[in-house]
Amino acid sequence: MTSALGSAPAGSGIASRPGGGNPARPHRKRRWSRTAQWVGWIWVLPALLMYGFFVLRPLVLTVQYSLYQWNGIGAATFVGLENYLTVFTDRDLLKIITNAFVLIIFFSFIPVALGLLVASLVRRITGGPAGTVVRTVLFLPQVIPLVAAGIAWSWMLSSSGLINQALRAVGLDGLTKSWLGEFSTALPAVGVIGTWVMLGLCTILLVTGMSKIDPSLYEAARMDGAGPIREFFAVTLPSLRQEIGVCLTVTVIAALASFDIVYISTSGGPGIQTTVPGLEIYRLAFSQRQVGLASALGVVLMLLVLLCVLPIQRLTRGEKA
């Protein structure tokens, strides 16, 4: 780096003039600002190379594969946009994409709604040991692998699991079932696992945001005779916009791109009742050897995530007074 600095072109006349006094110092400074700035790319390059080779290149290849019919071994045939046509017209694939959107209700909406409820009631978690315990426990689902959450909940939701045990204990024997195994309940049951994973994070994020709201806002609201509900809509909701945005962004991505939980708890079954795009890409690419279709679904999934996340970012980050 020093040698590159030394060979810098000395075209720095204009900038060094106003300095006057000592001609050596400004001259040196000027040299650093021009060449060294380009040399600075050396710092960025390793990260960029890794990113380029292991993300951008595969990304371009995904788009390329998506235009071909290829079994991963033999010759590929160019089919244009046919794979995309399949993604948007095949009934099974459409159902699979819809499933991901249904999961948003459980991964995003329920945790954010419950988190808001708890946050507006609790206002803040105390700093004492009790607060630490609460925070630590609520973060557990974020720390363990999703695979473990899937295993734990498959057991909880199984026919001899805790959920059915609880139902029997209160005399609701009629409601007991194998929650992940039945057509009508499988997808919501998978969703519940997501709710469990996301609820703690959302709650803590929202409570943390809550503790930053100026209490005088609530004072003013109460003076105006606002009840808890109006207070919530007039003060809490607008003040927490940014935190809600963060929760929604994180959880919507987790729902749309879900894989681990579904793979472990149901493998997409029964039928394709709980299959999500991530799982279908895996299956198409590695079991059914339909690389082209898998890639088209991958591109669609990527765009769907962007399509959902960008408006959330705009709505919640846009103009925060």
């Binding site: 700035q37 595969p58 689902p141 363990i144 469990w196």
Partner: protein
């Protein structure tokens, strides 16, 4: 605070406690199942009359825990130091040196910030096959470093953008070159940001599932999460052993989490806000 009525605060407490209980229940239910005698069909949550702690020893052998731990640690050792180092360097270049055209590089990286791994896993598989790295830990390590770069560089750049430039100019007058400047001045100052990033990358690597099952067939060469997936596949019908094994596989993460609990929560909160 005194504005919140007593009943509201009480309801809030009750909700919070309920939340804590619901979060803990799956773990307790797994523990109660793990302690039942082998070969029985456990029920949801029932403390066994005769807890079989030896089930954990069986699961330790069945899961090949020693090999799994070693494998996960090797993968973490490959991903985290290199990932953190090159992300810190890039963050320094983009946020502090402000290289010309840096916004283009940054824009490219932002593209990857919301990218689902599933969208690139297929070509990555063929790429790794062509490199002859399938079924080696490199097939997990190398792509993960690349896939973490958008977030990691974004994170470190945010730190370096806020470092006053005068700091570098003062050091330059002392005759330090950029390399010395980076190591002696900027890395020590960036320690909190680097610590959080290290924690996040460790956690994400340890828990990485998709790449592990796609790239590596041998469970003992995978990440912990990948190994857990294989363990479920193998022992899915033996619920007692499955629960014991899952809890065992979770233990290292839980211990690390409990030790660095404060830093973890800080990192995860900041991580989700910035990401």
């Amino acid at each position: 605070m005194n504005l919140t009525s007593r009943s509201e605060r009480l309801t809030g407490r009750i909700f919070l406690i309920a939340l804590v209980v619901v979060t803990l229940l799956p773990f307790l239910s797994m523990l109660s199942a793990a302690l039942q005698p082998r070969g029985t069909v456990p029920t949801g949550l029932a403390w066994p009359s005769d807890p079989q702690w030896s089930n954990f020893a069986d699961a330790f052998t069945a899961a090949n825990m020693g090999a799994l731990l070693k494998s996960s640690m090797l993968i973490v050792a490959g991903v985290v130091p290199i990932g953190v180092l090159i992300a810190t360097m890039a963050g320094f270049g983009l946020g502090h040196l402000r290289v010309p055209g840096g916004h283009i590089a940054f824009g490219l990286l932002l593209l990857g910030l919301t990218l689902p791994f599933e969208a690139v896993v297929t070509p990555l598989y063929y790429q790794m096959r062509d490199l002859g790295l399938l079924n080696t830990r490199w097939a997990i390590i190398l792509p993960l470093i690349g896939l973490y770069m958008p977030f990691a560089v974004f994170w470190m750049r945010a730190h370096f953008t806020n470092v006053p430039r005068e700091l570098s100019e003062a050091a330059r007058v002392d005759g330090s070159n950029t390399w010395q400047l980076f190591w002696r001045v900027h890395v020590p100052l960036a320690r909190p940001a680097i610590a959080s990033l290290t924690i996040l990358l460790f956690l994400w690597t340890w828990n990485q599932f998709l790449l592990a099952i796609v790239m590596v067939d041998d469970a003992t060469k995978r990440t912990m999460a990948g190994a857990l997936g294989a363990f479920q596949g193998q022992w899915g019908t033996d619920l007692v052993l499955l629960c014991a094994g899952s809890l065992l596989i979770l233990t290292p993460t839980l211990i690390v989490f409990l030790i660095f609990q404060r830093q973890f929560i800080k990192a995860l909160l900041q991580g989700s806000v910035k990401g």
